[in-house]
Amino acid sequence: MIELEKVSKFYQTGAQRVDALQELNDQVEKGEFLMVTGRSGAGKSTLLSLVGGLIRPDTGVVKVEGKNLWAMSDAERSQFRSRHMGFIFQFASLIPTLSVLENALLPSAFLPTGQGGDRTRAQELLERVGLAGMTDRLPWQLSGGQQKRVAVARALLNNPALLLADEPTADLDEETEREIVSLFQELNRNGTTIIMVTHNTDLIDAASHHLILTGGRVARVS
């Protein structure tokens, strides 16, 4: 489903060049649950951004569903992302002036009418993450864990085949963390491919594959 061919990415900070990822070759098969760990600055988030087509690799090719992301125009890539990928961030990043339901509906705004998830699906997803009856609330009326669950519902709205999660359980209590990981496992059992970046090595067992990054290179795959 995902192919990375000699993918490199560096950042220039003043006169210093930081190699975030160096000639990374990897494949993620459909239905995998890949957990990515590594120390800060190892290139975990860069990897996620590259797979999501959010940043351009300096060298190499990133293919998702057989398509080279950077052979597409920005509009095509954005639509492809909206249709095939769901993002969950370290922080919920909800829009405070929109209701829970409206926040969950956001990804549908970027697909042609009828192609994205609708209000009914958003309500179903919110119910599934335990937020039934809270759809009209504003984000500040929810706890941190509840906000994260809205972000999960938002990521799933367009029924993406690939879920990209950047430290989704950071900042959460253990119980909410367990709930989120259980939800990911359930989604994975239903066929969703998941790549999750985390610092928490206790969560590794929840995934089917584990990739450790060190200094922009793959240190170990299990």
């Binding site: 951004s49 999501g52 909206s82 993002f87 922080f91 909800l94 705004a109 970027f110 009418t113």
Partner: protein
């Protein structure tokens, strides 16, 4: 994309963005208000003065006015504004016409007496009048007529329309300069505030904007979102500004007097120009922050801007 269909569109996001901070929204509206208000004030005063000048000369219907001594200023005012203070009707129209005839003043087409004994616009009058308006042939020189009339009727005071026009224009120059400077400064300040506010809004919402980019917003959408917010604020403020500026000016005696010489269409055109200029300049000022949003690295933005 309306909210009824369950989809969140650009309009809903713009509205949501504007509701985020009341002081920023108020400052954005105020910037547009001041810029457009100053602009429409300057434009309408300038247009009003031009129209007033045209109206004065139309009212004149002639190139030279002859009156009794001591009325020069009142006659000039009548020429400039079409209205003036009372001037006693002491001119014997028939007698002065005869003197002009006897003095062989060249190029005279008509002479008409005006009674302004009650002030205001006055009315055509015979046999007594406050002054005599002389219309000349196109080839006749008003200054030559001035000399010939002085010779024919030595005791009169003569006002030449051309000179009055020059006086008015010369008197207006400093005012025009000050108005233009003031409106330019107001517009520049408004535009700078709009740009600064757009920059603050983008800075404060980097995480949200990054999230929008990640869930499928194109670069064009990101730019449109920031520009639409700035346009809404500047445009809304500008609309309020032109209404307030024109309302205040209509109530003030000096500017209100000028407005009599402008039609409703003139005022709408001037207001439209001020609103469009303010909205356009403000949108351009927000272009820098808007382009920043298009270059956001979403994950980085979310991580660093919780």
């Amino acid at each position: 994309m309306s909210r009824d269909s369950g989809r969140i569109g650009l309009a809903a996001l713009v509205w949501g963005g504007l509701r985020r901070s009341r002081w920023q929204t108020a400052a954005g509206l105020f910037a547009g208000l001041v810029a457009a208000g100053a602009l429409v004030a300057a434009l309408s005063l300038l247009s009003g003065m031009q129209a007033l000048l045209d109206a004065g000369l139309e009212t004149l219907g002639g190139e030279v006015v002859i009156t009794t001594p001591g009325n020069h200023g009142a006659v000039e005012r009548w020429l400039q504004t079409g209205s003036t203070d009372p001037i006693e009707a002491k001119v014997d129209v028939k007698e002065w016409r005869q003197k002009l005839k006897d003095g062989n003043v060249l190029g005279v087409i008509t002479t008409e007496g005006y009674d302004l004994s009650e002030g205001g616009r006055g009315r055509v009058s015979y046999p007594m009048a406050s002054f005599l308006v002389v219309k000349l042939e196109f080839w006749a020189s008003p200054m030559m007529a001035f000399n010939e009339i002085t010779a024919a009727i030595p005791e009169v005071e003569i006002v030449v329309a051309e000179q009055t026009t020059r006086h008015v224009l010369r008197d207006l120059q400093p005012l025009v300069r000050h108005l233009s400077t003031a409106s330019g400064i107001a517009l520049l300040a408004g535009v700078m505030i709009t740009g600064l506010l757009a920059s603050i809004r983008v800075g404060q919402r980097r995480a949200e904007l990054g999230m929008l980019r990640a869930v499928g917003a194109t670069r064009r959408f990101m730019i449109s979102l920031t520009l639409a917010e700035s346009l809404s604020l500047a445009g809304g403020g500008a609309l309020l500004g032109v209404v307030i500026a024109l309302g205040v000016m209509a109530l003030l005696p000096m500017s209100g007097g000028l407005f009599r010489f402008l039609t409703a269409l003139d005022l709408i055109r001037l207001a439209g120009t001020a609103v469009l200029a303010t909205a356009l300049a403000s949108t351009l000022a927000a272009l820098g922050p808007a382009l920043q949003t298009a270059r956001l690295d979403p994950l980085d933005a979310v991580r660093r801007n919780r």
